[in-house]
């Protein structure tokens, strides 16, 4: 890579924009003295886009922007005021003091509901297991009652004993 390629980015950025430090600037200056191509590059950049962009005039702000902006802000404000009025009215109709027991009850229900539900499910499951166990025992005792008539007490008898 020759020196021109090395310096091209530096010329198009830091050197052109006055951001290069003294050492980099001196290196570019020295190169430009002996390189017509890089002098041409710098001239093209300055005349081609730096000058046209830097000399473009700032434009006046159209007045309608402020008018529209005010409308939009006041529309928002009026909505906010309406909401405040609504909640203010609600607060007047139903005082927060009256809502405390209701909210408290709701909180208790929310907290204890799952526990109660879980307990009731556990009890139901236990009862069901017991019933299934008994049905199983009865069935097995019916099938082998004659064969085991002389045997010792079977599990169902043991259960009732």
């Amino acid at each position: 890579m020759n020196n021109c390629e090395n310096l091209r980015e530096l010329i198009l950025t830091d050197y052109l924009d006055g951001e290069a430090d003294d050492k980099a600037r001196a290196a570019v200056d020295a190169h430009l003295l002996q390189c017509a191509d890089c002098r041409s590059l710098l001239k093209e950049a300055q005349e081609g886009f730096v000058m046209p962009l830097e000399t473009v005039a700032r434009e006046a702000v159209p007045a309608e922007i402020w008018i529209s902006l005010q409308d939009r802000i006041s529309a928002r404000t009026s909505w906010a005021e309406r909401l405040r009025e609504f909640f203010g009215h609600m607060a007047g109709e139903f005082s927060y003091v009256k809502l405390v027991p209701v909210l408290g009850m709701a909180a208790v229900m929310l907290l204890t509901g799952p526990v109660i539900l879980q307990n009731s499910r556990t009890i139901q499951a236990k009862e069901k297991a017991q019933q299934e166990y008994l049905v199983g025992l009865l069935a097995s005792s019916g099938n082998s009652s004659e064969a085991a008539s002389d045997a010792a007490a079977n599990p169902i008898e043991e259960y009732f004993l």
Partner: protein, 183 residues
């Protein structure tokens, strides 16, 4: 941008309408012109300016004076305009119609200056229109607003080398386009 006192900013953040108007008057020139050059269209620039000031109105209470107000406004404007330009370029390929844009809110110029100023604006618009929004924003902040590389990096919240790289790519592209025009 005209200086705005901290007291004015605080009052505006607390909903004081007069203070907000003072903020608008001080900052609208900067916002509108940066937006105009990034979106490269007057109608869109008006929309962007309105949206930027609605953001300023909403977010001013969160401004903590850690950066300057000017940098904060530059950041909101540049980011909003870049996103707008990206969205617009996806929706439709814009062609800049200078005659139309001159009719929509263009400032009234003195007749003897008008021609050269219009030519300057046209030249700038053509150059900027050739660039993608990210590169265009860096060029606008550097060449039109005169920000340093570090200020651009702070405004766009990008690395300073990214600023350098975007400027380099933008300028290489502009040089290539110039050569095509000459040929």
């Amino acid at each position: 941008m005209n200086d705005i006192s901290d007291d004015t900013l605080i009052a505006a953040s607390q909903g004081n309408a007069e203070a907000f108007e003072a903020v608008y008057k001080a900052a609208s020139g900067l916002v509108y012109n940066v937006a105009l050059r990034i979106v490269n269209n007057r109608e869109d620039a008006q929309e962007v300016t309105q949206e930027v000031f609605l953001i300023v109105y909403d977010k001013l209470k969160t401004f903590r004076f850690e950066s300057s107000f000017k940098t904060w406004v530059y950041r909101i404007t540049a980011n909003y305009a870049i996103n707008w330009a990206k969205k617009e370029s996806r929706i439709r390929r814009k062609t800049v119609e200078y005659d139309d844009t001159q009719m929509s809110g263009a400032p009234q110029e003195e007749p003897e200056d008008e021609e050269s100023k219009v030519q300057n604006v046209q030249a700038a618009q053509k150059l900027l229109d050739a660039l993608p929004p990210d590169q265009r924003a860096c060029v606008v902040l550097r060449n039109l607003e005169g920000l340093s590389y570090q200020e651009i990096a702070d405004t766009l919240k990008i690395n300073i080398n990214t600023v350098r790289s975007r400027l380099n790519r933008a300028r290489e592209k502009l040089l290539t386009l110039q050569k095509k025009v000459v040929v």
